[in-house]
Subunit: 389 residues, 2 copies
């Protein structure tokens, strides 16, 4: 295993009716709040009103930025940062899923930058300061509520980038599983695929050493998704299922499962190109890519780890050969994603063809070689994209 | 499951040669450092010199308090607090195991209190402020390096109390597994028993609902101890074993495994009386008590959970009846603690007889009833103590 540092300072309020603490927590950071959200689903479920009631009864001055996209744009970040500068915002409150929170994090940083947010996203300019960010989570998927990262898209250039910075870590996040009751079966399934993929990519499937305890916990997070995502798809108001998924999402990417490991995130790199070009749901792209990536890199060096995954997570027969066990593991994963969760199986089904594969593959590899469980050239990535058709 | 809040702000440096960050981290809190440690083992292993080199090259002014006891005394806390007041200490650096860190936490709080530290320990007076605490850990056991609690003994009154307070949370802890290479086989085994017991007591064995994902992770931490404590006992310089135990100890009690649960800590309450009266190693007392407590409370309501523990952790045959499976789980645990780890099996073997059982049982129950997995009266606790003879 590798040396590491670990710190995660976010305060979590988990469960129903915890919003009563929102006002007091926010007031520690100031009085002028920018409330950010997406397409308005938070109004439909009554969450907008609940949040506004808390903010008003705490005597806070509220500004709003709505319409944050599912793959949030740098132009929206710029718009939010302008409001922060003009209205002298003290603290940001993101109410939504990972996209809303990611966007809000970069607004928080761009509020102190005189220029385009894209400079910060692409690390042309450093993040030196950021407003405090709060979140009220409505989707169990990205883990943004408890990590220091964010991913932003530039639709002018078909680019999508993200990175971690300690100043982007939310101060306080409110995780109420009932706020995810209205999430559709499709988005619930995509969220499950996203959580699993975070574990796979960072750092369950790896050629590098890892810590045994962490390896076990990674399998637990995956098993939690396998148990509860199908329940939540079928019974959207099942509290146990929604709660387990919500907490699993936060822990998949909050740093704990990354302790002692080291890896590049192959499927995430490949998927970000799909979303950048086609604006698809991140979790769906990951679901389509992951089993094909596993198939593509399957050989005698990767088979034992894929087989172990199959045994521990899907109960694959341990007496199979490494190669047979690995194949069974991959087919079990496909079955779970495409049959049990009902996600689309191919890029073709979601209207994506090969026309941009070459450019996407080159970008995914940063123009050179993508280092991961197996190193992949742009040709390799193109082949994997083709397997998804 | 229950609503909860979770926050753990401690920054962890994990691995070898991380002490080079010590000076820079300390300097953020001031220049006058009180270095605290125990009986001097840190000098034998060369850690004292390494720490002093870092402190000196950072230009810090260092004061020292040595001789902190394995069950730290309130009188030692007072001594440390006097140094803080007199020397205008800015920050405390505990180098040692849980006892040294616990003591240092209460020194940090007593530095701002005009009176006896016992008032703070017994919560007669509130903790209102505390100096920042750092730790360099040398024993994998209590989790004090990453939690906000501490336990202090008053040998005049045979009392031992502890509690959690956010101001006692360490700012930064250095976890280098090689600093535990010299820990004896006995102390390594006791540490393993302590880690397991934290999970059992808080909150694996419980009558209250818990979160499924957390339940799985609790079993992982226990399995980590079962796998690696025997390795570390036999091969004290096995890095993997020491590292897994170290990280398991921190996570057993840092709040994560407590999310969504609720329970009183029966074995800990009973053991604190043993240590308060006889100054024995906490983990040893827990090891002797735990299987007897399980036997004592075994009935048709507790058997299914004990059996599940046996199946998931020790591979007990799932086809056994609940009662048979539970008995097998308890005997597997005994075998692990007393045969595999080689810990003493009875209180008699460590020179404890029944003379104080009545008083200890009354104290353990706070004079009334101890609420836990099963509620226990002082008579029940006395019976459990007798089973340990």
């Amino acid at each position: 295993m590798y040396n590491f540092t670990f710190q995660n300072t976010t305060k979590i309020y988990f469960g129903e009716n915890q919003l009563e603490h929102l006002g007091d927590e926010l007031k520690q950071y100031g009085t002028r709040v920018l409330l950010t959200y997406g397409g308005g689903s938070i109004k439909k479920i009554g969450l907008y009103d609940k949040v506004m009631d808390e903010l008003k009864s705490a005597g806070l001055t509220v500004f709003e930025l709505s319409g944050i996209e599912p793959n949030p744009r740098h132009t929206t970040v710029n718009k939010g940062a302008d409001i922060c500068k003009k209205e002298k915002i003290d603290v940001l409150l993101a109410v939504g899923g990972g996209s809303t929170i990611d966007c809000t994090k970069f607004i928080a940083a761009t509020a102190f930058y005189e220029g385009d947010s894209w400079d910060l996203v692409t690390q042309k300019a450093p993040i030196t300061k950021a407003l405090p960010v709060f979140s009220v989570l409505t989707l169990s998927a990205t883990g943004s509520e408890m990590d220091s990262g964010g991913v932003i898209s530039n639709m002018d250039t078909n680019e999508k980038y993200g990175f971690l910075h300690p100043l982007l870590q939310p101060k306080v996040s409110f995780l109420d599983p009932t706020n995810t009751y209205s999430v559709s079966a499709f988005q619930t399934a995509c969220g499950g695929a996203d959580i699993m993929s975070h574990v796979f990519d960072i750092f369950y499937f790896t050629k590098y050493p890892k810590m045994d305890m962490i390896d076990r916990v990674m399998e637990d997070v995956i098993k939690t998704v396998i148990k509860y995502a199908p329940v939540a798809v079928k019974e959207p108001t099942n509290y146990e299922a929604r709660a387990n998924l919500m907490w699993a999402a936060s822990w998949a990417l909050n740093g704990f499962l990354q302790t002692g490991g080291f890896q590049a995130a192959s499927c995430h790199n490949m998927e970000h190109e799909l979303s950048a070009y086609y604006d698809i749901t991140h979790g769906l792209g990951l679901a389509i890519l992951t089993p094909r990536w596993m198939e593509y890199i399957l050989d005698e060096t990767t088979a034992p780890q894929f087989k172990k995954f199959g045994i521990n997570v899907f109960g694959v027969d341990a007496s199979l050969s490494d190669m047979e066990g690995a194949k069974k593991a991959i087919s079990s994963l496909s079955e779970f994603l495409f049959d049990t969760l009902g996600l689309q199986r191919t890029l073709t089904e979601i209207g994506i063809d090969e026309r941009h594969f070459k450019a996407m593959a080159k970008n995914a590899c940063g123009g050179d070689v993508m280092h991961g469980y197996k190193s992949l050239t742009p040709e390799d990535v193109e082949n994997i994209y083709r397997m998804c058709l």
